[in-house]
């Protein structure tokens, strides 16, 4: 799977997908823990329907997998493919951020 393209088909779920993968990079989490963690580091609350839609897609793509649990709250963890995909996605975002920040610092100012 070309990991730099793996999130292309997510469309409006690319945002939640990246947030979920970033959260799971810190360890396995269940739905509510994911919501709270994402809220703490991104300031965004992912609604339950959107969260599970993205989880289902990420699982179907093999980017995350469920962890065996006796609890009704099933945790998920990042797979190796998911980690590589996240790395590629964040590198691309960092390139955009670096260019934007550099240009802001160099040239922008009120006319």
């Amino acid at each position: 799977m070309p990991t730099d393209k793996a999130l292309d088909g997510f469309g409006r779920y690319a945002g939640p997908a990246t947030l979920i993968l970033a959260s799971l990079a810190g360890g396995a989490k269940h739905g509510y823990a994911l919501t709270k963690d994402i809220e703490s580091f991104a300031g965004v609350r992912v609604a339950p329907g959107t969260l599970y839609e993205a989880l289902a897609r990420l699982q179907a793509q093999g980017l995350i997998e469920p962890v065996e649990s006796h609890d009704r709250r099933r945790p998920y963890r990042l797979t190796a493919v998911g980690a590589t995909t996240l790395q590629a996605q964040l590198d691309a975002q960092r390139r955009v951020a670096d260019v934007g920040l550099r240009r802001l610092a160099q040239g922008w100012g009120p006319a």
Binding site: G31, P48, G49, T50
Partner: protein, 324 residues
């Protein structure tokens, strides 16, 4: 059951059974925790409802991500093809009613140019759709026969029974009421026209329920009881036939080569339906036929055209998903 758990269970009903079986328990726990934190949130309710609708459309093969793995991709393609079959059936239900009105009208009187062109194009499209349906059914029937040959299959028993029961009722009822139609009298080719009288009469009879008489109860009450019963029963029989066929397609393993073949047929069927729809639309837009005559398009034809357009758009989406 506690208040939040009850509310979570109510929200969960928006999702299809297969999704609930897989994610229901954990999703319920998330909803309960979210409800405890934010007891009133219309945005959350809207998000869950939207998620449920998307899950249902995904289950029907009408949207969603192309899954990894041949088995899962095949399952999704079969779901898409089954949805396309349902859309085609809806299209043909309304299209057949429109077409039979024109073909039977031609047996009574000479049509104007717009109606004549529409009838000929629609007849050609119907013929192509019949051939495509036959070509699509053959590999599925072969796969079903091979599966049954390996031993009794409970998964196919119910859908097969539903399909056969619907087929028998539609065929027997269509023949019975078609033969009683004074326009054709059941003769194989009663009068001049591009379509054999028996075929036109069968199409008319099997789509008798697509009628503007439903909006006129007083006129409807004057119909013979047998005809009224058929008008109520035939949509149920057609629904049984199509539901059974769709379930058979969903539950029958098809090789990647057969799926590719079926997907090509699906695209061809969509193009043919678009041609049929275009001919119907041109006929309705023409409006030169005398009011009250057999070639004058009524409100039911306009409504039918709208339903057919919706069925075609949905079917096209299903065909696109099947090809992914």
């Amino acid at each position: 059951m506690s208040g939040p758990r009850k509310r979570a269970a109510r929200l969960l009903r928006w999702y299809p059974g297969a999704w609930r079986a897989r994610y229901g328990a954990e999703f319920t726990e998330l909803l309960i925790a979210d409800l405890a934190e934010r007891p009133r949130s219309p945005a959350r309710t809207a998000d869950v409802i939207r998620g449920g609708i998307v899950a249902r459309l995904t289950g029907a093969g009408l949207c969603g991500f192309a899954p990894d793995g041949t088995e899962r991709a095949g399952k999704r393609a079969r779901a898409s093809l089954a949805s396309l079959a349902c859309c085609t059936a809806v299209f043909l239900g309304f299209g057949g009613a429109m077409w039979s009105q024109l073909t039977i009208g031609w047996q009574w009187s000479v049509p104007d140019t717009a109606a004549a062109v529409a009838t000929v194009v629609m007849s050609g499209a119907m013929l192509v759709l019949a051939v495509l349906a036959l070509l699509a059914a053959l590999p599925v029937a072969r796969a079903v026969a091979a599966r049954i040959a390996r031993g009794p299959d409970r998964g196919l028993l119910g859908p097969s029974a539903l399909f056969l029961a619907g087929l028998v009722v539609v065929f027997a009822g269509g023949r019975h009421f078609g033969n009683g139609w004074p326009g054709t009298g059941g003769h194989p080719w009663a009068h001049p026209g591009p379509v054999p009288g028996g075929v036109a009469a069968f199409s008319w009879a099997s789509t008798l329920s697509v009628s503007s008489f439903w909006a006129h109860p007083a006129a409807l009450a004057a119909f013979p009881a047998a005809e009224l019963t058929w008008m109520a029963l035939s949509p149920l029989a057609l629904a049984g036939l199509v539901t059974g066929a769709a379930a058979i397609v969903r539950r029958t393993e098809l090789s990647p080569a057969v799926l590719r073949f079926e997907t090509r047929l699906a695209r061809a069927a969509c193009v043919t339906m678009a041609v049929f729809l275009g001919a119907g639309g041109a006929w309705i837009a023409d409006r030169t036929a005398p009011a009250g005559g057999p070639f004058y398009p009524g409100a039911i034809d306009v409504a039918g055209l709208a339903v057919m357009a919706l069925a075609l758009a949905t079917g096209w989406q299903a065909a696109r998903q099947a090809a992914r």
